[in-house]
């Protein structure tokens, strides 16, 4: 077998270095998804202590997001995802971006990580914001205090 000269080694190592840089870092257990659903207050949704969807719950959802309760995404099949990141913003407590999306129906692309019974969502891109489409106040009033 022909010996590899020092100069060729340098080229091989440089090629390997470029390959490493080109591969994005792994997120471990996460997998890629595209989801459409309503941005919601995860506590009220999870507990079911008040009607937590759509216009009936919009004010409460704002209060809860400002108070630091996790904001979630609920898809039409009832699955709840806890949002940890939106675009490049990795803050998830009282995040103004999430506050502006509260109660909106959005389509997003990102990664989900399931751990101990919860589904966490890291949104890379909000592809579409349909605004508030779930008008529930006629049937459910304004939750929780009716005012």
């Amino acid at each position: 077998m022909r010996a590899i000269l020092p100069r060729q080694w340098i080229l091989v190592l440089a090629g390997l270095a470029l390959l490493v840089v080109a591969i994005p870092p792994s997120r471990g257990a996460g997998h890629r998804v595209k989801l459409t659903g309503e941005v919601i207050d995860s506590w009220c949704q999870t507990t079911g202590i008040m009607f937590a969807l759509g216009t009936a719950h919009h004010q409460c959802a704002i209060w809860c997001a400002v108070g630091g309760i996790p904001v979630g995404l609920r898809t039409s099949d009832g699955t709840l995802y806890t949002i940890l990141k939106v675009d490049k913003d990795k803050e998830n407590v009282a995040n103004p971006r999430l506050l502006r999306l509260q109660t909106h129906e959005v389509s997003v692309e990102g990664d989900i990580i399931e751990r101990d019974g919860l589904r966490y969502l890291l949104i890379d891109q909000v592809m579409d914001d349909h605004g508030i489409v779930n008008q529930t106040h006629a049937d459910n009033g304004i939750q929780p205090y009716g005012e």
Binding site: T47, H58, W63, T79, L80, N92, V93, Q102, Y120
Partner: protein
Amino acid sequence: MRKLLLILPLLIASPAGAAESWGLPGEQAASFAGIVVDIQCALTRDCPKDCGAGRRQLGLLKKDGALILAMKNADPFAGATRDLLPFCGKSVTVDGLFTSNEGVRAFALQRIKPPGGEWIAANGFVRDWVKAHNSSEAEEWYRHDEAAQARIKTEGKLGLGPGQ
């Protein structure tokens, strides 16, 4: 409901006994030990200093490896970040409630106890809010918070536009 939300901090301030019932679906009182962690850090290894300094959801990593998101604290309409943040990276014992609904199991934090310390009621959000706003409106902080007011003024209570 409103009365319940307002008396919760008083109930939790009681030093004796475990978590108080809140009448939640599938409610289960729980007391367990764990290390306070930034949830995003625990899942992705993206770990800013100080668990995100109050800007990230926090939880508890139990000895058996289970990661518990603290979704709620004992204040009305508030999460648990402010209560857990002082113990970032440290072991604590917590009291609270698990609640299950629609296949999701969530944890509400009621009290925290550092090793060798006393139980602390998990109502840090309103405590900090009152200090930051120099306000006496603790009972209904959410009606007086500028960020919440600004959004509701812009979007209306229903989110359909100003005044709606």
